[in-house]
Symmetry: C2
Subunit: 209 residues, 2 copies
């Protein structure tokens, strides 16, 4: 059985939803960042990065959101998040997910994790100040150019959908009004109705108590 490590408010929600979409057999471990469980010895010995998501398979551990998402797509080909047969279609999904991890998530991280890139409190505050602008610009591009509709890739739901949904859920905290982004808002509302999303959120909440 798969062992899946997550924490509240992180991008691990995306592969968590994908596991539900795939009806995968997994055990959920919610780490508490408040208790610094991601930096505890048992977890670090499993994942030296001290980050979530992490997926333990019978072949070993996998880390990094886009890699775990693509692994779920590849190993549950018949599910709603199954990997498309065509290499170009898969590459488009991967391109979208790469943009989320390397640009959008990074823009967001400058709000709470500025100490990764600077020590001076004034510099950290300045990064935080710019987050609504940088995250807003990323999501404007997503809104205008990247959502084919009704799902990110068009008629076919994919691993890009739970990933976008997860990052969209951070917009309010990042100071960006989702209602100024109609395609993003419509996608977010559409996602909220999916049984896999409802189930993942409920399970996350139960397992965190």
């Amino acid at each position: 059985m798969l062992e899946f490590y997550s924490a509240n408010g992180t991008c691990a929600l995306a592969p968590h939803i994908a596991l539900r979409e795939a009806s995968a057999d997994y055990q959920l471990h919610m780490l508490s960042f408040a208790k610094k469980e991601e930096l505890s010895e048992p977890f670090l010995s499993l994942n030296p990065k001290g980050r979530v998501p992490a997926l333990v398979t019978d072949k070993g551990i996998l880390t990094e959101c886009p890699a775990i998402l693509a692994y779920i797509a590849q190993t549950y080909p018949q599910s709603s998040v199954g990997m498309p047969a065509d290499a170009f279609d898969f590459a488009q999904i991967q391109s979208f997910n790469s943009y989320l991890c390397s640009t959008v998530h990074v823009a967001h991280a400058h709000r709470m994790r500025g100490s990764r890139w600077a020590d001076d409190p004034a510099a950290i505050a300045e990064m935080k100040r710019k987050v609504p602008e940088t995250v807003g610009a990323c999501f404007q591009l997503i809104n205008d150019e990247m959502i084919a509709g009704p799902w990110v890739m068009g008629e076919q739901y994919s691993i890009s959908d739970p990933y976008l949904y997860t990052l969209s859920s951070w917009l309010d905290g990042d100071g960006v009004d989702i209602n100024t982004l109609p395609n993003v808002a419509a996608h977010f509302n559409r996602m909220q109705e999916r049984p896999a999303v409802i189930a993942a959120l409920a399970e996350q909440s139960e397992s965190s108590q």
Copy 2:
């Protein structure tokens, strides 16, 4: 034929090497950042992100380094960078590449591209100051935990190798001495000897003149 857009000193060198490894039929377009060609109308109409790499296929354009690398792996399965048959092996490659794009490249980008995340010159200078520490920490983890040797994934060369090589080539500019990282240095030297690397560097240089 594939059309490949690159620029000197960027991560586009990684898929460029992969195209050579795959003996792909492609046309190279080197954009001049000094002339801001990546923000010119012809290129922006092709790629609204205004970034490289970009690969134009007969089905459309692909962007983002890890996505282009995986597309090359999938479409040239018999080459030295061909996609492995096993989903877990592929996921490990993807995990490594995700770490490079979302953490290592991002740490590096704070040296020259701080204005992406802050406007205040003092904050931008502070980000730049910390780059040797942050890039150094990323590469320490790569050196200690991630290079199976002789290639990143072990005996099997993969798309992770040109990607690591490309980011390793930035270490000197980032203020990190590669000689303090023996596994990274050995990998870098091993890569320098590959005909595909020598050919890509020569072609890049010729096409930039």
